[in-house]
Amino acid sequence: MNLTTEIRRIAQELLESGKVTRVIGYEEGQRGAVRPLVAATPEECGRLVLDERCVHNLALYLLDFKPQDNSPPPAVAVVLKPCDARALNVLSLEHQVERSQVYVIGVPCDGVGKEACVACPDRVPPTYDVLVGEPPAERPAPTDDRLARLEAMAPAERRAFWAAQFERCIRCYACRQVCPMCYCEVCIAEKLDPSWESIAIAPAENEFYHVLRAYHLIGRCIECGECERVCPMGIPVLAYNRFLVAEAARTFDGFRAGMDNETLAPFMTFHKEELE
């Protein structure tokens, strides 16, 4: 079955029936790329495509349909791969997206060629309303060799590695803008009053920004790796997030963010016993 044909059919039906007001999917772009499309009419759904070039995490665009002033947001449909669907679960748990207003067109995934795909064990989205296409065979979780290399470094060596990476950063904030979990109205890196860091695009400020962002993502990062894909300077952004993902899993019984729609991140929960 042709996935593109199937996606178009489902999207058209959803819009024609009035079940949703938008379908967020992928369309053919310029120069052989695909890109996000927020389709508003059945005709526009004719532009939707689905193949292994669909790298973007479209859960990001659900943040444009947040509940406003206590009235429910408009219903939208969205095409989500496994990691993208984990993002939706986290956004729903954090009350950023109203899950009942989102119709998920889930797509099984065998990797889309991103760094994130290298060590990804997931093949089927953890949440969906309709599944398009055949799930590929399950496979054991591959190891993250890059993470292992970084963890094997002596502290001074690792320090030097990251210092060199952050020195290249230009604070374009693409990693933050593309991250579904980075939805703060005003990022702490850009707050003016109080100001937590200067406007300088310089090593110390860059590092402050990246470390801060990493800490804000502990137990929330769903490893889609969009941060690293979009970085124009080639900074391995996902590597530090993966380090903290692994740390959260080690500390909290294999916890992985967004695998269901019930389990809050460890840092968002509190048990009395923890006082001991």
């Binding site: 120069r31 996000p36 665009y61 444009d64 230009i170 693409a174 406007i199 300088a200």
Partner: protein, 335 residues
């Protein structure tokens, strides 16, 4: 002016010589395969095959962050100091589009009131170009905005790759002097490089932009825009900046750092009102600034040199060349 043919070894030896007197900036490829313009210690580091480095030459004339005033409070007086000028520099292997970009940047920074920091750096900078003997990347569109793959605008020396070596042409007095120590043999008659073909795309006139300001097109384009700053920071002509003080108490440094109209808080006014409240409105501003406002203000000078970085680097495929085509087409369709 004088031309010389240099083998690659002679060229690199010349650059090594320059590095003794100047800070030399050139394209260097990293382990990951990306090429960046950066300060080099030796000519051997330079990647002469690169079509277009990730960053533009902008940061070497208008640094991403620059201290513009140092304030120190003493017991009796306040000491205000403008930081000293940096070392004279040579920008090596500059592509013609990056050099051409300086025309609009000069119009802005050298106009009234002239910008001290740009002016003195510009004065202390020599540009050695590397002509595009083939069109280096699929995103290149310099001819659309009046440029040329072998254009020499704003360059002091131009290099043309030719067989086993390079033709080096001194274009200014300073450039000829810079070239003086180079080995190689004089070229007589001079070599005239055949420019490669690059068909210009549409470049809509002011009326087209005027007509389309309120069009839904911009909101739709903004739907997929991330609101990051990649397209502006690596652009050779985006010059917006912010100024704030760093430090407290007796010692404060006034910083000027890049900022971008594509980001969310850029246009928020003191009242809290934002005249460009959506991603679409902000994206529209970037294109209008380049193709409508700036030419209107500076005698037709387009604030874009067609380098193609924003096209190549946009994570969601917002393609300026497509925007130009769309504006031309949509304006034609309107009554």
């Amino acid at each position: 002016m004088a031309q010389r043919f240099l083998t690659k070894q002679e060229l690199l030896a010349w650059v090594d010589g320059l590095a003794r007197g100047y800070r030399v900036i050139g394209p260097v490829r990293d382990e990951g395969g990306r090429t960046f313009l950066q300060e080099i210690a030796a000519a051997a580091e330079v990647d002469l095959q690169v079509g277009r480095p990730v960053n533009s030459i902008k940061e070497f004339l208008f640094p991403a962050t620059e201290g513009i005033l140092h304030v120190r409070r003493g017991k009796k007086a306040v000491d205000l100091r403008v930081p000293d000028a940096a070392r004279p520099q040579v920008l090596f292997a500059v592509r013609p589009c990056d050099a051409a970009a300086l025309t609009s940047m000069d119009a802005l920074f050298q106009g009234e009131p002239a910008d001290l920091y740009w002016g003195r750096r510009r004065q202390d900078t020599l540009l050695v170009g590397l002509a595009c003997m083939q069109i280096p990347t699929p995103e290149c569109f310099c001819t659309t905005v009046g440029g040329s793959p072998v254009g020499t605008t704003n360059l002091d020396v131009m290099l043309y790759a030719d067989g086993a070596g390079y033709v080096a042409a001194g274009l200014t007095e300073r450039g000829a002097a810079l070239l003086e120590p180079a080995a190689g043999r004089p070229l007589d008659p001079p070599f005239v490089p055949p420019p490669p073909e690059l068909a210009p795309g549409p470049c809509p006139p002011a009326e087209a932009w005027l007509r389309l300001f309120a069009d839904r097109y911009w909101q739709r384009l903004g739907e997929r825009c991330l609101g990051c700053k990649i397209c502006t920071y690596n652009c050779p002509t985006c010059y917006c900046f912010d100024i704030r003080d760093r430090g407290a108490g007796g010692e404060v440094e006034r910083l000027r750092a890049w900022d971008a109209c594509t980001s969310k808080h850029y246009s928020v006014e003191a009242s809290g009102h934002d005249p460009r409240p959506t991603r679409g409105a902000r994206l529209r501003n970037r294109f209008y600034h380049k193709y409508y406002y700036f030419p209107w203000r500076y005698q037709g000078t387009i604030l874009c040199s067609g380098c193609g970085r924003c096209v190549a680097q946009c994570p969601v495929n917002i393609d300026l060349t497509q925007v130009l085509e769309d504006v031309a087409r949509l304006a034609g369709e309107q009554p």
